[in-house]
């Protein structure tokens, strides 16, 4: 069983990380395209039309792979995590179904107009479609982050015995708890949909995710435009996009920092073991803030650490005395602790890159204001490669959040003592999670899946996704090197070849009033 757990975790991690390359790009670019289309609609300047067409084609390319790799995620809850699905379906499933109905239909429907319909619909409707695609992609983030946040900080539900028809104690027929092999089967059932949606972490986490997506969009645009400026190509196009992207990049990075700070405080309140793993904080008490270091789980200390004494006390409580008590990993039984090294390092990667994002956007805006940005080759190159780091920061944030949630798939509630400064501890000095109110990762996998099956699918996904990633980069690179193309104006558009022939026939047919067979 253990090997299926590990293989399924690896597969989920790998497939979700691959998938998560694309949604931030489409959400971020979608918002930027909506802005550019609005400017085009209002001003009719060809510059905006060129920019819209260029970014839209890249958007469509990313969207298709995002959709294809997204279905994999929905299927995997059932294929690899059947026990989890039975436990959470009543609560978690609604959010996924809502995502399908409210978000995916909206974005995929209007994407067709955005991708293929510029000449088929009126410009006002085209603009509306662009908005709807952007809205749909934001909605999809809403529902999936709600579902994930419920796993982290469950609310609006209760955990009950599953009832099946049977014989009651008095001998009459009725509903009785379903017992298999002596174990009463239990699951989460919804009590209050609104409380489930607005569980303690969903709003903060959703804001963080969306800001991260906007940052990816902004840095993607920055990367491409900085490259054009360095190569002296498409100057007007690049210059026009650059400033907006710099402002957007700075605002989103600052937003991420502010939101991230409050979110960390929320994590401490609801998942203190996770925050302790992020910070490598072992001993309950005044907590230092490690800037760098290497966590040593066996010795329960940070090796080679450089830190700010009392810094974590300040961060968690906004405590200016730098001395308040912070619960550490020592409050948790070894089997209840999250892994250490991955959350510790990925947390630092995210925060560190986030800080650098603020710095380079500020520098970019400063030099742009002084009109000397084009001469700052080093900074432009930093922008060209910056998108890779921003992607890493997005992924790291998720890695920290999900590995830090271990060993649970559904995190049980945490009870603080009356003073609110420490956990309610058991007689053995450790915090006692109520096992019945959560679900452990080891108990979440599919019983029907054999290690051989899990291994083959993992290998196949690895090969397929690496190949796809290579082709995607190849195609994307060509698109960027080709650069934006002049847009044909409808009036001056010279129709030629097959297309002209098709259209001519179409007109001829319509002239004859023969519309048969065209109604699909």
């Amino acid at each position: 069983m253990e090997s299926v757990v590990l293989l399924s975790r690896l597969q989920f991690a790998f497939t979700i990380m691959f998938h998560y390359i694309f949604p931030p790009l489409t959400i971020g670019l979608g918002i930027i395209i909506a802005y550019l289309e609005t400017r085009y609609y209002l001003t009719k300047k060809p510059m905006f039309a060129i920019a819209c067409q260029f970014w839209t084609r890249i958007f469509v390319l990313n969207f298709a792979i995002g959709v294809a790799s997204g279905i994999v995620m929905e299927f995997q809850f059932g294929t690899n995590w059947a026990s989890y699905s039975r436990f959470v379906g009543d609560v978690f499933g609604s959010a996924l179904a809502a995502e399908g109905i409210f978000a995916f239909f909206l974005e995929s429907g209007f994407l067709a107009v955005v991708a293929f319909g510029r000449k088929k619909v009126r410009s006002g409707f085209y603009l509306f479609s662009v908005y709807m695609v952007a809205l749909g992609s934001v909605f999809s983030a809403v529902w999936i982050v709600v579902a994930n946040s419920w796993q982290q900080t469950p609310a609006g539900h209760h955990i009950v015995d599953i009832l099946r028809p049977g014989t009651l104690a008095d001998g009459s027929a009725g509903m009785v708890p379903w017992v298999v092999d002596g174990i009463v089967q239990r699951r989460a059932e919804i009590l209050n949909f609104v409380e489930m949606v607005f569980n303690p972490s969903s709003v903060q986490r959703l804001s963080h995710v969306l800001l991260g997506c906007v940052a990816v969009g902004a840095f993607f645009v920055l990367s491409v435009t900085a490259y054009y400026i360095l190569k002296g190509k498409h100057r007007d196009f690049a210059q026009a996009s650059l400033q907006g992207a710099l402002i957007l990049g700075l605002l989103s990075s600052l937003g991420l920092a502010v939101n991230g700070h409050t979110q960390a405080q929320q994590v401490y309140k609801n998942q203190p073991a996770k925050l302790a793993a992020f910070e490598g904080h072992f001993e309950t008490g005044r907590a230092d803030l490690n800037i760098i270091g290497w966590p040593n789980a066996a010795e329960e200390r940070i090796d080679f650490g450089i830190g700010i004494p009392g810094g974590l006390s300040f961060m968690v409580f906004d405590d200016l005395t730098f001395s308040k008590k912070v619960v550490g990993l020592d409050r948790f039984k070894p089997e209840d602790r999250p892994p250490l090294i991955i959350p510790y390092l990925s947390w630092r990667a995210m925060v560190g890159i986030g800080g650098l994002m603020i710095v380079i956007c500020s520098l970019g805006l400063f030099f742009n204001y002084r009109k000397t940005l084009a001469q700052k080759g080093w900074l432009l190159w930093a922008f060209v490669f910056g998108i890779g780091f921003v992607m890493v920061a997005n992924q790291s944030g998720w890695i920290a959040a999900e590995v830090g949630r271990q060993p649970w798939t559904v995190h049980p509630p945490v009870v603080w003592d009356s003073s609110g400064s420490d956990l309610e501890l058991g007689a053995d000095g450790f915090y006692q999670y109520d096992e019945r109110l959560g679900l452990r990762t080891v108990n979440s996998v599919s019983v029907a899946v054999s290690p051989a099956e899990a291994k083959s699918s993992l290998i196949l996904f690895t090969i397929l996704y690496l190949a796809l990633a290579a082709v995607w980069i190849l195609v994307l690179d060509r698109k960027i090197r080709q650069g934006p193309e002049p847009v044909h104006q409808p009036e001056g558009d010279v129709e030629e070849g097959y297309r002209k022939a098709t259209i001519d026939r179409q007109h001829a047919r319509l002239d004859h009033g023969d519309r048969q067979g065209g109604a699909a």
């Binding site: 298709a64 929905e74 059932g78 059947a82 179904a97 099946r164």
Partner: protein
Amino acid sequence: MSSEILCIIWFILLNVLLIGYAILDGFDLGVGILHPFVAREDTERRLVMNSIGPLWDGNEVWLVTFGGALFAMFPNAYASIFSAFYLPFVLLLFALIFRAVSLEFRSKRLSTGWRSFWDIIFFTGSTLAALLFGVAVGTLMQGLEISELGDYRGSFLDMVTVFSVLVGLFTVALLAMHGSIFLYMKTEGNLQQRLLVWMKGTFYVFLALFIVVTLWSTLLVPASLQHFGDYPLLWVVPLLNLLAIANIPRAISQHRPFYAFISSCCTIAALVFLFSAAIFPDLLPASNNPEYSITIFNAASSVLTQKIGLIIVAIGMPLVLSYTVLIYWTFRGKVELGADSY
């Protein structure tokens, strides 16, 4: 509303989603199956691909929503079916990925090798997806050996029977026919003339397999007619289905492809209905012990979740239908190649 009525409502709604998916993505997959055979050179291949260009993505969402609804409303069935069909569903995901990326990547380079490669991937993905959907349906009709908790006990090879493979091939033929009628409506000239031959050819293959699968399931799969004795009204569906099937060649020979298309849509709807009627009230019949079968009643979510789901459907479905109509209306008529095409 009592829990039982809600379970039945959700079973019907899941069927609606499944029928919607089978009809809409059905012609996409059919177009993919026919693609290498009906299109002779690059422009024709592009026309064939672009006929579904703006549509396939939205059509696939019906499957995603079906999966989400099954997860939400019948979590035990979702968990047991998806984990039982582990390898087939992984392959199905690959097939759907192949289809999606081949559409997206093919036109990005001019070289013949590049384009032929993605043509092969497009055909493979579409055909494999259709085949696997059919195999899954055939397997579910026969039932699986599952534990009391609903976990599948066999291996991948145990579920590959002659019957399930036959239903798989039948599905490929059905969708190829459905796709050929769709393509006929969307094309013109030589390509359309060739499709006339393909429409007839795929129809007869479909018909032959339909007869074999129908006989096999009525004679050898006990579930298939289990409710027909109690509810004779059900016989209306197979009779209407026969009329729809008979109408396909008639409409084709009368050069009314739209009627043929509607007929094949009805056939698909009837077949999905008959499949659901065969296994009702099960979602996953247990072949080893009927008591272990996962039914729409013992797999259901709580009443509150079912009601919340109905509210979501009541708000969402009218929106979904209006986008669908809007998109099909925008992209009506013959397919043409433009600057934004694949």
